[in-house]
Amino acid sequence: MEKKWEEMSADEKQEAQFQKLLAPKDPEGNDLQFQSPEAETGFKASINRLKDAIQLKKLPDRVPVTIFPSMFPYMYAGMTVQEAMYDYEKCVAGYKKFVLDFKPDLPMGAAGPGPGRFYEILDYKLYSWPGHGVAPEHSYQCNEGEYMKAEDYDLLITDPSFYFRNFYLPRVFGKLEPWNMLPPLTGILEMYGVAFSFIPFGLPPVQDAYKALFEAGAEALKWAMAVGGIDAELATLGFPNIFGGFSKAPFDVLGDTLRGTKGVMIDMYRQPDKLLKALEAITPIMIGLGLGAAQQTGKPFIFMPLHKGADGFLSDEQFKKFYWPTLKQVMLGLIDGGCIPLPAAEGGYNTRLKYLNELPKGKTLWMFDQTDMAVAKETVGDTLCLLGNVPSSMLKLGTPQDVRDYAKKLIDTAGKGGGFVMCNGAFFDEANPENVKAMVDFTKEYGVYK
């Protein structure tokens, strides 16, 4: 008899997730019809290859290779970032060309550019994007700020959802500003007075905010159909998108888009206890975010871009006190739920490697940017699977031979005995296509384990 999900160990859950990936369904829930036997073989080989690399039990048939770009696929396909953000059909067509031309084992989907009109409808202030503060050919970029004020900690800690809805979201979406008038849902208790709580929904500005929200939702859905559709199509051609969702280190949640880099760093001195409490409050939310997404998409890989924990940003002591404990908790929570955290350690992580051995073996996939991969292999190679490290500068400015030489060194060191996925180290927009091709093709040839 099959075990219930709740009764499974983390190992069993992970295995069940891989088996689910190996038996893909079409959008109607039937077994996916591959376009050729080769496509099916390739699809399953890619997943098994990645599974072996991650679990560290069995040597994969070869080093898996993937590409995690930012806007490169769309630039490569000859469109501006603006076009990719506003013309969803064009966007996914460009992405398809990218996947079919470069043939990475595990493409990451076409969600990168996002729906331009959606951001417009809600007057998104957190980012600048093409036509809104950035040139048409450039990538969107974050506008750092103190969207959460220094004195807001108690509100956030007490009721994060209320804080987000009534304070944070009205600040980052111009159109949702009237949400600051909404009542707390937890005040809706009994018949006497219940109608008072609903008065704000009768106010014209609030109603306008909801109209914008409906419009934004419809736009997001239209975009998601295009992005999801191309994933389904590429799966039938043998290219599995394994990304199931997204989560973050609690410290980055506060430091990236709530308090901002400067704000969170000052809080470490002025109100460390509140900062720690807020990190704790955010932790289960970040676990739930990943688990929920994985359940919805049926895919276990949870992408986690890591920022403020990089070498040089925090001292060892600060990292140990403010960054690592809650990041570790989020990862353990995701692993317990059968997910595979895929943290992207931007910048260097050389001084942090020693902490990563506190994670269970064979449960995480770490993208490294400028970390020394030979040292990483030595330090954490028995705990986790390494991914990445081909420099953006080389992909844009080097020669295919430079890339092959670099990839060879990576396979010989980081790839020794499995536990490594070839990939770029940082998300890139511009690159010489020949270099990207060289990274993939060389790995497929030289990376075969004998």
Partner: protein, 209 residues
């Protein structure tokens, strides 16, 4: 007297440092002395950062304390202060066209400033011509170009080219820095050097001025 303030600031004792300044002013201490003490404290902060005793949060917080101290001192300082501080030389810093990232750039500006350079901070998304004009206006001998995205490689090259076309290339040394910047990018852009962090930026400026 100001040594005590330097120590408090260098040790990031915000409340004590501010209390010290307020009390000292009440007791009639020359505000210029206190300003000197604060500057000395910031110098120590910079040294500790160079020695990897301090990290970015410590720099950021020391800057906040300094801001509070200066705000208290300002009304007491004579407007014709002339400052008298000798500056090591002029440096222009900016994030290149198309890129709006500022955290790395701000750290470089901060470290150059506490290390005694006169810094012109042009901000983010700086048009090529703005760098050229500012070199002419200020006579700065060092220019620092910052950038985080791959698009910055081309913008940096464009900026270096424009400085050359304006006939100013031999008058300035150009350094570049940012997330993905390495020797390969330096060669591509035609800059004189690249730095991995704010400390290397200071070392380069010291070597060049």
């Amino acid at each position: 007297m100001s040594e005590e303030l330097a120590r408090l600031l260098a040790d990031l004792k915000e409340a004590e440092a501010i209390e010290f300044v307020e009390k000292a002013l009440e007791q009639g201490t020359d505000p210029l002395d206190l300003l000197e003490g604060a500057k000395e404290g910031m110098k120590i902060v910079g040294e500790r950062f160079s020695d990897a005793d301090y990290f970015i949060p410590d720099l950021v917080f020391s800057g906040e304390i300094l801001k509070s101290i200066v705000a208290i001192l300002e009304p007491h300082l004579k407007s014709d202060k002339g400052e008298g501080a000798k500056r090591l030389g002029k440096v222009i810093i900016g994030t290149v066209a198309g890129d709006i990232h500022d955290i790395g750039k701000d750290l470089v500006v901060f470290m150059l400033d506490v290390s005694g350079f006169e810094v012109t901070d042009l901000g983010i998304d700086v048009p090529v011509q703005k760098f050229v004009d500012t070199i002419k206006e200020t006579g700065s001998k060092v220019v620092g170009l910052s950038g985080f995205l791959t698009l910055a490689f081309d913008s940096m090259k464009g900026t270096v080219d424009a400085i050359r076309e304006a006939g100013l290339r031999d008058d300035v040394k150009i350094m570049i820095g940012g997330g993905q910047i390495d020797e390969q990018v330096r060669e591509f852009t035609g800059a004189d050097a690249y730095g991995r962090d704010a400390i290397e930026a200071v070392a380069l400026a010291q070597r060049w001025i």
